[in-house]
């Protein structure tokens, strides 16, 4: 049992640095094939309701006018707080961050509540294009589901530890 637990923990730990959960959905669609210079741009944000505590994922699809995907572009996401334009955030979107390697994705943190103006700047051999949308960021909610997976994980570890302790402290020969 002990050996099995160690093997599972070690194997799982191997995957932790590159792992993520629940990211197969794209999230909220913000732009649907919008013309941006020579490009057609689609964009999604995840999670659906963004709070100041969340890591925001912005996913961008870049196509040319023939709807072929452009995979060699430089994609930058700029965020400006509408109420105070001196507060800005900027992140480069890459294929490495995206689950679907056709798209570009940027993880961001928007630490102030309010309306943010998001601008996507795309550059490639075809030229430059920009597209934008607005995104509301709200106070962190008391959403219990965010603690669900960590709670299950902690409960599982506690169960294994308790079982181990019980086995260790059990008098020899007792059944």
């Amino acid at each position: 049992m002990k050996r099995m637990v160690i093997v599972i923990v070690l194997l799982s730990a191997t995957f932790v640095p590159m792992a993520r959960t629940d990211a197969h959905g794209l999230g909220n669609q913000q732009l649907e094939q919008v013309e941006a210079g020579p490009y057609l741009v689609s964009a999604w944000t995840d999670p659906k309701n963004v709070t100041v505590e969340d890591e925001l994922h912005v996913t961008v699809s870049v196509q040319d006018q023939e709807k072929d995907f452009i995979l060699e572009a430089d994609v930058q996401i700029n965020a400006v707080l509408a109420a105070d334009p001196t507060i800005t955030e900027s992140e480069r979107a890459t294929h490495d961050n995206a689950a679907q390697k056709l798209f570009y994705e940027a993880p961001m943190r928007l630490n102030k509540t309010g309306q943010w103006h998001m601008t996507i700047v795309i550059e490639s051999e075809l030229g430059q294009g920009t597209a934008s949308f607005d995104l509301a960021v709200v106070e962190a909610s008391n959403n219990w589901t965010r603690w669900l997976w960590p709670a299950i994980g902690i409960a599982a570890v506690a169960l294994v530890l308790a079982f181990g302790m019980y086995r260790k402290n059990k008098p020899q020969g007792s059944k």
């Binding site: 099995m4 799982s12 629940d22 197969h24 959905g25 669609q29 689950a99 679907q100 390697k101």
Partner: protein, 296 residues
């Protein structure tokens, strides 16, 4: 290879929740298999291990590869994902006798406790037997499959990760239950499942799957409008994508039931032949005994 295909093949998503569950299940099964093998138990044979690992491999392929990541862009990829889990992974896992072998992979106190919970007189077993009767399982499987293919439910699942995970768990769970009855895998809690009953069961499951596949394929309208809002890969328009998805559900999706029915019919014929042979031998022996040729 074109850039889109290359991106598709590279789009593996290392979801720790899926990887962890697969590793735990494989570790328990392999430990049990090794223990039983050392004891010389016939159940722990090579093909069962291969079957279990292939089943788990299909689960990993369906959930972690490009099939898992691009299901939100193409309907037919989503159908392939469901078929891999329900028509390939589930029967392969059930054929590997996961319950008896897996139990031997658990620590002795847990195994004994579990055996106590599942003995013939235990209330837990009675509940399991009641809620997993073939008719109930068939009904639940069918309702579940049709419910998630309703346009609104489908869109909710596609755009909401938690609902999507629940959908996959229900699909996989009900598929395991369906294949439990069809393959007659252990634990054999229910009354003897004859070949005839298993053929009828598989045919019933095949039929409803066929109807859903035909309905989606033949639909003149786009049922799953979500796909019209996402960029189209390989130039496949949303309606054509839906038709291909329906066809995949109709033909390869039903093929596994078709093969199963053929295998069961062939087994039934073998069984009937053997029974007839035994009957003939008994009659011959009786005649010989009557003539005083054979010893009683």
């Amino acid at each position: 290879m074109d850039a889109t295909t290359e991106a598709f093949l590279k789009s593996w998503e290392w979801r720790w929740d899926v990887i962890f569950v697969i590793l735990v299940c494989v570790s328990i099964y392999v430990t049990g298999w090794v223990r039983l093998r050392r004891m010389g138990a016939k159940i722990a044979n090579g093909w069962r291990l291969a079957s279990y690992l292939s089943g788990m491999g299909f689960v990993a392929l369906a959930l972690l590869s490009g099939i898992g990541t691009f299901e939100s862009l193409l309907f037919f990829i989503h159908m392939i994902q469901h078929i891999l889990m329900m028509m390939y992974a589930a029967p392969l896992i059930m054929l590997a006798a996961p319950m008896p072998i897996g139990m031997w992979g658990l620590p002795r106190p847990i195994r004994l406790q579990l055996a106590k919970f599942l003995n013939q007189k235990s209330p837990l077993r009675q509940i399991i037997v009641t809620i997993t009767k073939p008719g109930i399982i068939w009904m639940f499987y069918t309702l579940n499959l049709w419910m998630w293919h309703d346009a609104e439910m489908y869109e909710r699942a596609t755009t909401h990760s938690t609902i999507h995970n629940i959908q996959h768990l229900l699909f996989f769970g009900t598929a395991l239950a369906i294949w439990w009855h069809t393959t007659d895998a252990a634990p054999k809690f229910h009354k003897h499942r004859t070949y005839g009953k298993r053929i009828m069961f598989a045919a019933g499951t095949y039929f409803q799957n066929l109807l859903l596949g035909i309905y989606i394929t033949m639909s003149p309208e786009l049922i799953y409008t979500y796909y019209a809002t996402v960029p189209r890969m390989w130039g496949i328009e949303a309606h054509r994508d839906q038709t291909v998805g329906g066809l995949i559900m109709w033909i390869p999706g039903g093929m596994m039931y078709g093969y199963t029915i053929l295998i069961l019919i062939s087994r039934l014929m073998d069984y009937s032949e053997k029974q007839a042979q035994i009957k003939a031998n008994r009659a011959k022996l009786k005649r010989q005994q009557a003539k005083g040729i054979a010893a009683p």
